[in-house]
């Protein structure tokens, strides 16, 4: 970090005390931007950094509601409209007792660059309330959502600010919020994303993250003139992301040999084919059983229980070409990263959020393998929000294929931005740098263009 950046962070802390999450997020972003500020003196003159850390608008409001017993409660509602340089504010709403200004500012700040990286016209924002949906009846949740939206409605709109869901805000809450917005404004518009399929929602939402990470991987492979065809792939997890990762890999001709859940993982040397995947999807989505049953169902499958005490995850210790960590945070540590590299894996695309520890990332970068960080590789999830907005604006829902195709294009775009940016800043093939900088550049340039606003 440069001296001026450091002093900016100090000023930020003084100005916004008791927001440590926000301080740290800013510091992290700044660290990755040192090179940028060196090369773009005009940013310094325009004081871009100081402008980008200050929310364009913060809305804080009272949300009164009555519970089923008639007791009056008051919660605090927030909407941080962080940055609208490249599009209407976009970002989730979180209902959780822990919600406060600092946390939301931190989330909104990160959202700006995530959205920018998708290449779609979406600004950044975040909002929510310290309301705890735990132990609340449907009616109480509805009354809260209606009260919340009664105030929020005057600040948002399909061309202004388009909130989505987050922790504590799922399909049910989005429904209640949308209903109240529609009632107050008397207009049916795409003011929220995450809507129900038959009233403005988009297809391919559950699939997007998994599909996207595979698209990203095949773009990375393409830089080495390769495709996924016949590539042996290690996939971890068995939830949405993992399932659709496997599905897309199969479509593109690859061969998946592992999947896992919290209790253990299976190694199927013959590969998980469509039929086996269908079994697994039924097992996980409908019966909600353990992955062990997969090993009991099919021949020549090795099941290995995963124990917390292990110092490495044996799933990552198989001969393969590609790896798709799609389970949880920190599932690849330094030891696992070494195993992967040693076993010939040269392409890692992160479907999960931050699945690789910092040490692990360093090993990948040092080994110069194709490493697609989650920020870029799993941006497919964020992108579908944008696609939902687009369909709403057109008043025309796309078919699965159309959405999938758009998703593919978006992932290609993200990949391209990462590669080009990395190269431009002297670290060719470093997708981490590429992703960090590309998101920022787009926003900063737009701010420069639009003048001091």
């Amino acid at each position: 970090m440069t001296e001026s950046m450091r002093s900016l962070v100090e000023r930020l802390k003084a100005k916004n005390p008791a927001e440590p999450e926000f301080h740290q997020a800013v510091a992290e972003v700044f660290e990755s931007l040192e090179l940028v500020m060196e090369r773009y003196p005009e940013y310094r003159a325009a004081n871009i950094l100081e402008r980008v850390v200050e929310p364009e608008r913060v809305i804080m409001f009272r949300v009164p509601w009555t519970d089923d017993q008639g007791v009056v409660h008051v919660n605090r509602g927030f909407r941080i409209e962080m940055n609208s340089a490249i599009g209407p504010y976009k970002g989730g709403l979180r209902f959780h007792p822990s919600v406060n200004l600092g946390i939301l500012k931190f989330l909104a700040f990160e959202q700006v660059f995530k959205n920018s990286l998708t290449t779609l016209p979406m600004g950044g924002g975040k909002g929510g309330s310290d309301f705890d949906p735990k132990g609340k009846s449907d009616n109480e949740v509805m009354r809260f959502c209606q009260s919340f939206m009664t105030e929020l409605a005057r600040h948002i709109g399909p061309d202004t600010d388009v909130p989505a869901g987050d922790i504590g805000v799922g399909g049910r809450e989005i429904g209640y919020l949308f209903g109240q917005y529609k009632r107050i404004r008397n207009e049916f518009t795409g003011v929220l994303t995450g809507k129900g399929l038959n009233w403005g929602g988009s297809l391919i939402r559950p699939e997007a993250t998994g599909y996207g990470s595979v698209y990203f991987a095949s773009e990375m492979l393409a830089t080495r003139k390769q495709t996924l065809k016949d590539k042996i792939c290690l996939v971890s997890g068995s939830g949405n992301v993992a399932q659709y990762t496997v599905e897309k890999i199969l479509e593109l001709g690859g061969k998946v040999v592992t999947m896992s859940d919290s209790s253990g993982y299976i190694y199927d040397e013959a590969g998980i084919d469509r039929k086996k995947l269908d079994f697994l999807m039924e097992l996980k989505n409908v019966r909600r059983g353990r992955i062990k049953e997969y090993a009991e169902e099919f021949k020549n499958v090795v099941y290995t229980p995963l124990e917390g005490r292990m110092e490495f995850n044996p799933l990552w210790n198989h001969k393969a070409h590609c790896a798709f960590p799609s389970a949880t945070q920190n599932e690849i540590n330094a030891r696992d990263a070494e195993h992967l590299v040693k076993n010939g894996v040269y392409c890692v695309a992160e479907g999960a959020n931050m699945p690789t520890t910092l040490d692990g990332v360093k090993i990948f970068l040092d080994a110069k393998i194709l490493y697609g960080p989650g920020k870029a590789a799993n941006a497919g999830g964020v992108a579908t929000s944008g696609l939902e907005m687009a369909q709403n604006s057109m008043r025309l829902p796309w078919t699965r294929e159309e959405v999938d195709q758009r998703l593919h294009m978006i992932m290609k775009g993200i990949h391209k931005a990462c590669v080009e940016t990395a190269e431009r800043f002297g670290t060719p093939g470093n997708y981490v740098n590429g992703a960090n900088i590309a998101g920022f550049l787009k926003v900063a340039d737009a701010m420069m263009d639009q003048g001091l606003v």
Binding site: A18, P20, E21, Q24, D67, D68, Q69, V71, H96, P97, S98, N100, G102, I103, F106, D130, D132, P133, K134, G135, K136, S137, D138, N139, E140, G165, I167, G168, G170, G171, R172, G175, G194, G196, L197, G201, L203, R205, P206, N240, N285, V286, R287, R288, G289, G308, R309, Q329, N330
Partner: protein, 1010 residues
Amino acid sequence: MPKDADINELSTIGSYIDPMWVEHGYGTRFQGFQNLMRRRIRDILIVSSLYDLYLFEEDGRLYELIRNEYQGLRLSHAPELTRVSSGRNAIAIAQEERRFDLIISTLHIEDMSALQLARMVKETGLDIPVVLLANDNRELNELMMHHDTSVFSGIFIWQGDYRLIIGIIKQLEDKMNVEHDTKMVGVQSIILIEDNVRFYSSYLPILYTELLNQSQRLISEGINLSHQYLRMRARPKILLCKTYEEAWGYFERYEEYILGIVSDLDFPRGGEPDAHAGLALLRAVRESHQDIPFLLQSTSTEHEEEIHALGGTLLIKESPTLLHQLRLFMTEYFSFGDFVFRLADGREVGRASDLRSLEQQLRYVPSESIRYHAERNHFSNWLKARTEFWLAHQLRPRKVSDYPTLEHLRQDLIRSLHEYQRLRQRGIITQFSKETFDPESSFARIGSGSLGGKARGLGFVNILLNNYDIRDKIEGILIHVPPAIVLSTEVFDRFLEENELRSFALEEEDDGIITKRFLEAKRFPEDTLGELAAFLDLMKVPLAVRSSSLLEDSQYHPFAGVYETYMIPNNHPDPFVRLGALVNTIKRVYASTFYRAAKDYIKMASYRLEEEKMAVIVQKMVGSQRENRFYPEISGVAKSHNFYPLPPQKSEDGIVSVALGLGKMIVDGGPTVRFCPKYPQHIHQHFSATETLRTSQNEFYALELFSSQSEEGEYEDVTLRRHRLSTAETDGTLHRLGSTYSSENDRLYDGISRSGTRVVTFAPILKHKLFPLPEILELLLDMGRWGMGTQVEIEFAVNLSPVNEGRREFGLLQMRPLVLSKESDSFQLGAYDESRVLCSSPQALGHGVMKDIFDIVVVNKNTFERSATTIVAAEVAGLNEKLVAARKPYILIGVGRWGSLDPWLGIPVKWGNICGARAIVEADFADIDVAPSQGSHFFQNITSFMIGYFSINNRLKNGSLDWGWLLTSPAVEETKYVRHLRFSQPVIVAIQGHNHNGLILKPENDSGRK
């Protein structure tokens, strides 16, 4: 109904109230019978020199004898005896522990005289009665002659009968409760006037033994739990007096409720010894009451004639058969024995031992005899002595002159008795007979022994259901105890004896061998076999065979889950095969009495295995057949007290766990839906679709009706099978309990009409009121809590498919007292020196005391940074692994929300990372206020493992935590963020579930107690 029926009102209100109400205390609801004998003596401090003690009994025996006596008389729990040998110690311990209800001092104690002790107790302001128990008559006389002994609450002399202790206790209790109990339901009293310590010391044990035995006899008549409890409490009281004035005072006050008087002839009157005080008292009593039995004791026959003329009885004190005669008198005059019909000249013309024979005799005895007894209130006296207060009060005001003829009186008596018995019959456990057993509703017994805890509980519930009119309270729903027969412990005894299995079973340690031998046992009591065959002839539906042991469900040691339960399809076409299967299953239950787990448990609970006997309940299963499966739609467990209430719930609102299919899912700790019957729409685990999916049931249990399993080597539950939810959907049982998850919309839809993932949420019932489950449970918990006089736990099953007359069926399978151990009560928040307290919290969840924790894992508040919580989580997980491997439970202390999803708000551990923790402390951050999680992230685990959960908020002064001590005590291991402390003494955790006060004490050697 008036809330608190006054004595004088009793006779008038009696005319329009339902006898069941009075009988069971319903009339006054919460102030009824179960509130009798409210004040009890539970803890006794004995102060005695070792030598004195030795004279009483060899050391240690006294307590055992008393305990046995209490058990034999089925009194509630025996008092605890604590002994000290010096007066100073006695006062110190009494002051400190504040739990003693009575001090018994012998004449000789180490550092002072008994008299000094009694005075000191008074002076120190301790409100504890002190009783002197002497063992030497001469010494005692000396003391009483020269000193004022009024400071003692009683003086007794030891004559070798340990039951005297019981007499002392009961006598004091009676004095404490007489006012309240008489007012409440008209409990009767016996006045005992005797100033001679030696005499009353020998009378008291006899009188009480007789009284208790009398109640005992009535109990066996009552044959159900409610009578048993209530009758014990409603037994007559004994009021011991030493002067005329004292006795007269009692007489005037409780006139109508005096069962009889046992008096000395010579005792103080007007402050002076009066050789004829007894006679004077008799005369005075007779002025208003001709019929109160009066026993006078004298050393001579001097006044015999006058006494007889006044209707009294004389006993000669020196008579070698004095005690025997006393007993005879009680039996006859206190109506403790049979009702003897006599003519005016004393000739016996009939005899009745219970209500039924009384009714019968009334039809035949000469009307002269009826007049004789009616004029003297003999009927009501006899009934009262049997605690049939309601009927007694009904009859008492009726005068012979009220009836045109004696025949009218006779008919009225017969009618009243008959009607009363009919009412009382409802819900009683009758002897099984094929003719009267109703396969839809009966609850009958086979054999004459005890029914065991579980069956007794069921019988009790059955009565409550009937008397409360709950059976039909909710339209379209049959609420009942499913029809059952109980094989009493007598059958168990006979089986063991006939096959000579007892000593083998006591010694054998291998469960498998025991089962094998039991199954091979050839002899099964013949008559029982016949009755079982008759029963099976009526019941061709699946049966549950469950243990009901003597010790099971005892209020203090719940044996829930120690013994086995079996289910049998009972559907073979050949009745002999069905009988064979049932008998084998019964043998298995018998065998399980001697299983390892049961042996261990009994040892732990300090019972003796020989004492244990097994009754067996054979009960119709609740459920319906679907293809090859039999199961109820809903099984559940409801508790009237919730140790982990989350707003808006309160502890007393109770908590329910329900699952689809058989209850094994719940018993095994599988996924269930937990709800509070008062707030059925506020389901904590359903706050998000993901969480609902994670915590909901995906399989269920059903009984396999046509099993291909062989009989040999078959163990528990082979006839039970797990099924997928899709099976329930095909069976048509899921649509009343299910919701559907749509991954496309990330939303849960109630009902299963859409396509998507099926989830058992019970939403159609809890939210859309398809079935009034919460209402029924609220009602039953309320009823149970009141009926048992304690918190209760109910097991139930619901069959939503119409069965009985098109009604749906709610089966109550068990009700037992919910054990709220009182141990934690002795750990009061304010009672400890601040330096001793590690942590205190007014919002702790859980209940009980843990004394086996020596380890603490604490997050170092000073090095902690909110940005490093994931590292902290990893460090905690590492220590957890080590401690779990070493089987060391520990206390986990940290800041912020444990298990937070957001790493900024707490330490983002998963349950597996902290699974060895037995108590968890969640303290606040220094910088921001975060709502405590109260363990909500792993709520299921916390509740099912009964983990203690403490929330501390220093800033709001909500609780305290000694950080200084935690961070300075030497650590066994220390990482950057986490410290592991280990102590040689336990760190005690105590939580009082009823008020959510929690306390953690530092190990003993680290600081002193206040």
